[in-house]
Symmetry: C2
Subunit: 646 residues, 2 copies
């Protein structure tokens, strides 16, 4: 390649792995569902983020650190100050926003965004100490650097800085942040690198950044330090903390831990970094350990939406089968982290089940974290909210919030959307692999020559994908399209000729000598369907969910007649589901189901010998299911993904 | 009365209320289930507590404060020091233990307990500052008194001191602690009393203690200060904290809040104090507000076991119907607090439903918090633990712990058992009311003259109660026995003559001129029964529980064949339950049920179109249910109260 690969994750050809990411310039989502989402992110969310970063004090911290000239001046604002809680990691919010802006300016220039970013980059450059230390919390409060690895988030913040730096370097050839990040990492390595003391950050993150710095610069010490961090974790360096050593994955070595544990974001960030290290060092044992954990997590600790986290206390995974819909933690950042992890596993293994996981998480665990207008967020994404429900939004509030005291999620969404085009397709030795269905143009430099594809689709509104080969070499190559795991019936044609694709086992691969204009149509049957949970998931026993294609649906109190309470509703599973021909949400169909209202017994001790009398007042009700990603955009109220069946 | 009433709660005849507590000297549990429990408490648990209070540093804090002579010397130990968390309330653990010892020494002397207590009392006397301030956390660390009302627990600790002082005064006529408590409260009143600044403690507790100090001493200012605390709460004096103002019941005034909210222990302690204030001031609005909250809590926020608390985060009540068996917080202290609250409501209203609640909580939410040998505890009492389950015991441990970093529960159990005899019976204008069934001797001074009753029963092993009138005046009086809410069939006889008692509506009342030797037999039919939950309790949908009499049962993995996993077990509801004639636990029957093993599907994505194939390998299994209060006394393992039915 004649230019550095523009991608968030860019393993070189020498890395262990099956798939190669495409350059972000080579994939362009042109219209449809995702184009709308990316446009909102670019035009609304990034500006909203800049305002909120100023209002929250995150930019102010850097500004004060920049003018402090190394003298502690106090005045660090940590998000929740009024509640006596100070989060030391607000710098990272700024860095994540900067990363998003870096990718975004690479997609197309924007003078205003550029000016805002330049101002912030200038602050960051000046906030860095002469010895390379960067961290406004420690600087402003005059604390000892790296004395609170467990809670201080110092490496975590520098890792996010490095990822922003990588975006600006790869996207714009702008290495200002890269120089800052390089010196900040050098300061950390002097303290904790080979020959320094043994210690890891309480919040894994820097491992991914270090490997990517290595990939960008070729400097081996970054990879060595990442490997050192992975190797040191799980040996008790962090202590028990207030949530136990499992909280920060410090109970068992990363190569040994059989299951995910503790804080969900930390776990998936750690495992994502472990995959990065494993693919660069050829460490199959490490990779297999991550895959083993992923398989167990997928089978027993993942919500239907693809979301992760079952406990608010410790923001943690639960035990196996512990998947409460109401107290699902389902942090937006954990879903984003799961996409980062699955993307790395997809590149490493080529197995489309990881792309399936990305799809499910993006639609049902990442997107629900942001309002359609891109300026209101959820940190926690429950699958069940009761009337007057508490504890899922910020503080004592209900519904989406403009920002959070702990604001990790909003800028994490921004950088995810700004680099999302990179998730659509990859190449392998045989040709092009399409992983996500979106209306897009894809350019790929295959070994046999350059290829251009145009993907036309209204997905996920319907399941039809038309791929037109617009440019192709004469030699044959393989076009591969993921056949989603949710799909049980698909039709495929090439240039109008139906093709017998046999059983769907993850992907359709068509290898041949293509000619320009060739047209492949994949038609995924996408009926609304009922989904039942594994009987061991206690919290949703006796319930069903409605899905269609990749989308999980939900029913909201706002769509019920005024005299019907959601807890009294039961779904008639025998009656077919039907699409509403008249109404859509975010362009997506609304689904009708038949239900029954079965009023609960009157107040009193709620446990007894059981219903001896038939419930009175039972009556039918029409239920309207909306995509879960579109919930909570009216007045706050009850909502259910899992509905008891009659 | 010629001597002060020996009771934890002793409202005078002038207080609003229906029932009068008996003096602790007038009730003696002679043998059977509760006699065993009280003996273990006296002979094992109190000594264990003394050791642990020394080992935890709680007594050491007071010792250092006693020798510090007002100069801050540091060295406060706060339980979780290694985890960077310091609990400021360790003094209260000592006070609760002292309260227990006070009641216990009133039951019978014990030289060793007496010597240990005297040493601690001496430390407390010397740890008090010249101005009356008492609190080792503030003293040792040189903090400003009353500057952190939200988290400092300063009033909370003094409240517990006062309750210990009341026990020693009423039980032993020993007023050493009462003098200390009086000066400590005076110091608080100077700061926060009428004319001082407005503020309440983040943890309600002192309200109960203040009212009882008023009852003991007759000093009105105690009652006024209690009323002031109740009145100030709910007006935002505590701020949002990290869990929101609802956490410490500061969102709405105590007279207005429609439902319980936030930290469960704080709520029930607050409401117990509110009942005390209401009964002394005749504040019907306040009492009704507490009863309204109690009714709603009972109908929608109480676990089958009577336990309270649905969220680990904030140790809090959940939303209505949010009652997860696995993440039930069900803190032992919350159950104890619920007994304290229900006892006060029983005295105030005379309604036996409050005694029903006491019974359920004592057997199924208080007792499960302590091992049969009295030296290992649960802080959290889940109704479902999965294999390898985490998060219900201390730290990353499983099973009962000898002590806790936050050790509120163990000494709370001690004082509960040491004064438990007081809960058995009361008097009213008509006669004697028996609320709890236990083998006991009861003396009561009725207006018509002295009465002695002997209660013989093997309850809760069986449901037969024989009451013998051993002493009675000639004039008629009423003997009332609570007919438990769980009971649907009872036989009653007087001197062998069967009595038609009609429908059971809470209690049996027999008013007549009794003669010595009269014998009343109440036979409560006590078949094992299946209990189903209200359909709105999502977390246990499709499940049943086994109960017998007042006892909730559970099934433990340890009682299943080695090749049967508890999550695969279903209960056959059509097959009758049967008592095991061969085995008992703590003297209580084991119950057999028929079940079926239905192995779950193999690993993979756990959501799908549902069971299209019949599960293979389905086979019958005999299920053994043990009283929930006796669980977790073998190796740690899975346990369920709610079992899915076939």
């Amino acid at each position: 390649m004649d230019r550095p690969l523009r991608a968030a994750v860019a393993p070189p050809g020498t890395a262990m792995g099956v798939l190669r990411p495409l350059d972000l310039r080579a994939v362009s989502i042109t219209d449809g569902f995702w184009a709308d989402r990316l446009q909102v992110n670019r035009e609304r969310t990034l500006a909203h983020g800049a305002q909120q970063l100023e209002a929250s004090g995150a930019i102010g911290n850097l500004r004060r650190a920049a003018t402090a000239q190394g003298v502690p001046v106090g005045g660090y604002r940590g998000g929740h100050d009024d509640a006596g809680v100070t989060f030391p990691f607000l710098d990272s919010d700024v860095y994540k926003w900067l990363e998003a802006v870096g990718w975004e300016l690479g997609r197309a220039p924007d003078a205003l965004l550029r000016a805002m970013a330049d101002e912030v980059i200038d602050l960051i450059e000046r906030a860095q100490a002469k010895d390379g230390y960067l961290g406004s919390y420690v600087t402003l409060l005059g604390l000892h650097p790296f004395h609170d690895l467990a809670w201080g988030h110092e490496l975590y913040c520098v890792g996010h800085l490095a990822q922003a730096a990588i975006a600006w370097s790869r996207s714009l050839g702008d290495d200002r942040l890269l120089r800052v990040a390089g010196r900040a990492v050098a300061r950390i390595e002097a303290e904790l690198g080979e020959g320094g003391r043994d210690g890891v950050d309480g919040h894994p993150q820097i491992e991914m950044a270090l490997v990517e710095l290595y990939r960008l610069t070729g400097e081996m010490h970054y990879l060595a330090f990442a490997e050192r961090q992975i190797g040191l974790r799980g040996h008790g360096h962090l202590g028990r903390g207030r949530f136990g050593a499992g909280y920060w994955q410090d109970l068992l070595p990363v190569r040994e831990a059989p299951t995910v544990s503790g804080h969900a974001v930390r776990q998936v960030y750690l495992d994502a970094g472990a995959v990065d290290v494993a693919t660069e060092t050829g460490d199959r044992v490490l990779l297999d350990a991550v895959i083993r954990r992923w398989d167990e997590m997928r089978a027993r600790r993942t919500h239907l939406t693809g979301a992760l986290g079952s406990r608010h206390a410790g923001e943690a995974f639960g035990d196996a089968w512990e998947l409460p819909p109401d107290r699902a933690y389902a942090e937006t950042c954990a879903a984003i982290g799961s996409v980062m992890l699955a993307w790395r596993l997809l590149l490493a293994t080529g197995e489309e089940r990881f792309a399936d996981a990305i799809e499910r998480a993006l639609y049902n665990a990442v997107l629900p974290g942001i309002s359609p207008d891109g300026t209101a967020f959820f940190y926690v994404n429950p699958l069940l909210v009761r009337a007057g429900g508490t504890g899922y939004a910020g503080g004592e509030g209900q519904g989406r919030q403009a920002w959070y005291a702990c604001a990790c999620c909003p800028p994490n969404l921004m950088r995810t959307f700004s680099s999302l085009e990179g998730l659509v397709a990859t190449t392998d030795d045989a040709g092009i692999r399409i992983h996500q269905l979106a209306a897009a143009v894809i350019d790929a430099d295959l070994p046999v020559g350059p290829v251009r594809l145009r993907l036309a689709t209204a997905y996920p509104t319907d399941g039809r994908l038309e791929v037109t080969v617009q440019r192709t070499p004469v030699a044959s190559w393989a076009l591969s399209v993921r056949m989603p795991a949710w799909c049980v019936d698909a039709a495929v044609s090439v240039d109008g000729e139906p093709l017998d694709v046999g059983p769907l086992d993850g992907r359709l691969t068509l290898e041949r000598a293509w000619t320009p204009g060739a047209r492949i149509v994949v038609d995924l049957a996408m009926p609304a369907r009922l989904t039942v949970p594994d009987p061991r998931i206690d919290a949703v026993r006796g319930c069903v969910a409605v899905e269609r294609g990749p989308l999980v649906y939900c029913v909201e109190q706002a769509d019920l007649p005024g005299d019907v309470a959601l807890p009294d509703v039961r779904l008639h599973v025998a009656t077919p589901l039907a699409l509403d021909p008249t109404e859509r949400r975010l362009g997506l169909p609304v689904i009708f189901a038949e239900g029954v209202v079965r009023p609960g017994p009157s107040a009193g001790w709620p446990y007894g010998a059981g219903p001896t009398d038939t419930p009175s007042g039972e009556r039918p009700v029409k239920l309207r299911f909306v995509p879960y990603l579109a919930w909570a955009n009216r007045e706050p109220g009850a909502m259910r993904v899992w509905v008891p069946f009659a």
